[in-house]
C-alpha cells in the first residue's frame, strides 16, 4: 500500500488540475491549475522510480543508476519545461492584457471567426 497511495495522490492532484484548466476563465488561473497537473505527474514519476524496477534488470547491477533514477531524470525535465512554459505563458498574458485590456481566455477569440 506504499506505492499505491503516492500514485493515488498524484491522480487526485492531476484531477484537480484538470478541473481547473478546463473550467477557469482567467488565464493565470489556468496556468496555476496546469502547475498542479505537472506536480501530480512529478509525484507519480518519482514514486514509480522509488518503488518499482523496469522489466529488464541488468545482471551485473554495476549500472544501478541506469534504471533506478529514471523517474528523477524525467521529473527534472518536466520541471524545466514547466518553467519555460510559465515564462512564455505569462509573457503572452501580459501582451494580451496590454493590447486588449483583458485577461480572460474567452475574450481572445479572433481566430474562432
Amino acid at each position: 500500500m506504499t506505492l499505491e497511495r503516492f500514485l493515488i495522490l498524484g491522480a487526485i492532484l492531476f484531477g484537480i488540475g484538470l478541473y481547473g484548466v478546463l473550467s477557469k476563465k482567467h488565464a493565470i488561473a489556468v496556468l496555476m491549475s496546469l502547475e498542479i497537473m505537472f506536480n501530480g505527474v512529478n509525484v507519480t514519476a518519482v514514486a514509480l522510480s522509488r518503488y518499482t524496477v523496469p522489466y529488464t534488470v541488468p545482471d551485473t547491477f554495476v549500472d544501478a543508476s541506469r534504471f533506478l533514477l529514471t523517474g528523477h531524470v524525467f521529473t527534472v525535465f518536466i520541471i524545466t519545461v514547466a518553467a519555460a512554459e510559465v515564462a512564455l505563458g505569462l509573457a503572452i498574458i501580459i501582451a494580451i492584457y496590454r493590447t486588449r485590456q483583458s485577461v480572460l481566455i474567452t475574450d481572445a477569440k479572433e481566430l474562432s471567426r
Binding site: 495522490l9 488561473a29 502547475e35 544501478a64 543508476s65 533506478l68 525535465f77 519555460a84 509573457a91
Partner: protein, 182 residues
C-alpha cells in the same frame, strides 16, 4: 532507513503532507480571489517538495523549492498584481459542473486501475531484487542520489538535457521579445 519498512513518523508525515497538498490544491481552483489562490498554490508546491523528501529525492525537493516556490510563484504573483486593476475575480465557465464530473470520473478510474487492475508485486523493488541489489538500491536512493543523477543526465539522457537547455534559452528570449516595450 530501508527500502521496505516505513516507520510510523514517515506514515504520519505522508498523511499530513498529502492532506495539506490536496486541500490547498482544491483551494487554488475554488477560491474567488486570485491572489489568495496563488498563495495556496505555494502551499501545494511546498507539500509536493515534502513528498519528494519522503520519496528519497532530496535533490528534486531542492529544485522544486528553487524553481517552483522561488521563481514560478513569484512570476505568477507579479502577473496577478500587474493585471489586477480589472477586478474580475476568478470566474468559471458555465460548463463547470460537467467538467467537475469528468475530473471525478478520472480520479475514480485512476483509483480502480491503481488498486485493482494492476499487479504491482511483479515489479516492486522489494520483491524483485536480492539482498545485495537492494543494498545498492538503498545506497542510490538514500545516500548518494545526486552523483548517480548527474551521471545519468550526462550519459544516457545527454541529448534531452541539451535540448531542454536550448528550449529554456529560447523560452526566455521569446518571453523577452513578447513583452518588450516598442
Amino acid at each position: 532507513m530501508t527500502l521496505t519498512t516505513e516507520p510510523f513518523a514517515i506514515e504520519l508525515a505522508f498523511w499530513i503532507l498529502s492532506v495539506c497538498t490536496v486541500i490547498s490544491a482544491i483551494a487554488v481552483v475554488q477560491i474567488q480571489d486570485l491572489f489568495r489562490s496563488a498563495l495556496f498554490l505555494i502551499v501545494t508546491l511546498l507539500g509536493v517538495a515534502g513528498l519528494f523528501i519522503l520519496l528519497g529525492a532530496e535533490f528534486l525537493a531542492g529544485v522544486q523549492l528553487m524553481v517552483y516556490v522561488g521563481a514560478i510563484s513569484v512570476l505568477i504573483i507579479f502577473a496577478i498584481l500587474m493585471t489586477r486593476d480589472l477586478e474580475e475575480g476568478n470566474p468559471s465557465h458555465s460548463f463547470r459542473v460537467p467538467v467537475a464530473i469528468v475530473a471525478i470520473i478520472f480520479i475514480l478510474f485512476a483509483y480502480y486501475v491503481i488498486t485493482q487492475d494492476t499487479d504491482w508485486n511483479g515489479r516492486l523493488i522489494s520483491e524483485n531484487l536480492d539482498a545485495e541489489q537492494q543494498k545498492v538500491a538503498a545506497t542510490v536512493f538514500f545516500k548518494e542520489s545526486i552523483p548517480y543523477l548527474a551521471k545519468m543526465l550526462l550519459t544516457d539522457f545527454v541529448l534531452a538535457f541539451e535540448m531542454v537547455s536550448v528550449l529554456l534559452l529560447a523560452a526566455a528570449l521569446g518571453a523577452l521579445a513578447l513583452v518588450r516595450d516598442r
